[in-house]
């Protein structure tokens, strides 16, 4: 039996939606994690444990872990701290698993932590914090956040990360040192639109089966790199706006990806003309297809945040997104048509999809 889970992070806890392979009817559990604000959830390969990243305004940052698909949880922030005298960590924004089994956590203020014991303890990846540009890092509207972590699928030494509004970096030595990877990415809000760092990457993802191919939705466009981030090509032509937050890549086809453009950074940041749509490409961003079947086409002042879109691994691929106003939408046909899963969640900060076979 195939089970499909949508893991949803909100400021009022995590929620889990479950369906079968048809992905038409969904059951709901939540709020989980004691109602803590949760920014990201992932499933750990191998163990199947669910990990949730977040932070309480009272009790600080933590990574939660459930070994039973969300029924019971533990949490830890052992080692998840900066040195004395540095602004404390407010929350954990992002999680990823490296090919060597390590867990990686991105935090606010921006930094990276690594756990080699399944999240029981964490160590600071100081090479990133010690980068020579650190004193120039400026926060985006969401804060100085490390929101995207893209481990190389097979080489544990290599990882890409995205920080708003700093840009993309890559390490090739397991975090000891990092190189900016922003060439070709515009920073229209900067006097020099092509600085070495200072780009406002909103979401960084990897193409399937091509470790050197990356996509990003940026404050200033959608981009693709086919050389590990060394150079980026603007894919924005064909989209209604250069501005958006989320982006996801197909689990098997490196040419297919989805974005949800917003109307602009200074126009309210909702879907253009208040008509909801998801856009997808099947040719690496050369052309874009608007998908709105089932989505509201008037008065839809919807915003989708950077972590709030996901895809599963079934065929056809399921794609889902959550809005800042609590609607969770799902497509069981790769974004061709959309169904409303629920309309009444808190603001949706993140969506992750996973498929369980039993």
């Amino acid at each position: 039996m195939t089970r499909v889970l949508l893991l949803v992070g909100t400021p009022k806890g995590a929620f889990i939606f479950e369906s079968d392979e048809g992905r038409r009817d969904w059951t709901t559990r939540g709020p989980l994690c004691e109602g803590w604000p949760i920014h990201d959830l992932i499933v750990e390969p191998g163990s199947g444990a669910i990990l949730a990243a977040g932070g309480s305004p009272w009790y600080g940052p933590a990574v939660w872990r459930s070994e039973d698909l969300g029924t019971t949880w533990t949490h830890s922030s052992a080692g998840l701290t900066y040195a004395d005298g540095v602004d404390p960590i407010e929350t954990v924004w992002s999680l990823a698993t490296a090919p060597d089994g390590a867990l990686l956590a991105g935090v606010q203020p921006a930094g990276l932590f690594r756990s080699e014991d399944r999240g029981a303890t964490w160590s600071h990846v100081e090479g990133l914090t010690n980068h020579p540009t650190r004193s120039t890092w400026q926060p985006g509207a969401g804060g100085l956040i490390l929101h995207s972590i893209v481990p190389h699928p097979t080489d544990a030494d290599r990882t890409w990360i995205g920080i708003s509004a700093v840009g993309t970096f890559e390490t090739r030595n397991k975090g000891a040192s990092w190189e900016p990877r922003n060439k070709g990415v515009r920073a229209d809000f900067n006097p020099d639109p092509h600085p070495v760092t200072g780009q406002c990457v909103h979401k960084l993802v990897a193409a399937a089966g091509e470790p050197e191919t990356l996509y990003q939705q940026n404050h200033c466009g959608v981009y693709r790199s086919e050389d590990g981030g060394a150079n980026w090509t603007d894919l924005t032509p064909g989209l209604p706006s250069q501005f958006g937050f989320p982006m996801v890549a197909h689990p098997r086809d490196p040419a297919t990806a989805w974005v949800i453009p917003m109307n602009g950074d200074d126009k309210g940041r909702y879907m253009p003309e208040a008509r909801a749509a998801v856009w997808r490409t099947h040719d690496r961003g050369a052309n874009w297809i608007r998908s709105d079947a089932g989505l509201p086409q008037h008065d839809a002042y919807l915003t989708v945040l950077r972590e709030a879109m996901a895809r599963d691994t079934l065929d056809p691929v399921g794609v889902s997104f959550g809005t800042e106003t609590g609607q969770l939408w799902h497509s069981a046909d790769g974004g061709g048509s959309w169904d409303l899963v629920t309309a009444d969640l808190p603001a949706i900060w993140s969506v992750e999809a996973t498929v369980l076979d039993s």
Partner: protein, 88 residues
């Protein structure tokens, strides 16, 4: 022996932990929280951040008076840990 009273929202993070604890031999709030952490691993991280200092929205009262980590704790004191009232 000091008595510590923990908030419900904190003990909810540690299944099976009760609100009231008796702690022996802790001379300060810092030492008292460390002693609690030995019984409830991870509790100190929920109350204290780098500095070390109490998290911004965590209030501690010793014998009814506002306290910080360095505040002395007497043997018969009651120590309340109370999350700040945040919001309207």
């Amino acid at each position: 022996m000091a008595t510590v009273v923990l908030p419900g929202s904190l003990i909810a993070l540690f299944p099976g932990v009760t609100r009231r604890h008796v702690v022996e031999g802790a001379a300060t709030v810092d030492a008292l929280i460390s002693a609690l952490d030995r019984d409830v691993p991870g509790l100190r991280d929920r109350l204290i951040e780098a500095g070390p200092q109490l998290r911004p929205h965590i209030n501690v009262f010793v014998a009814g008076q506002p306290a910080d980590l360095a505040t002395p704790v007497a043997e018969d004191d009651t120590v309340h840990v109370i999350p700040a009232v945040s919001g309207g």
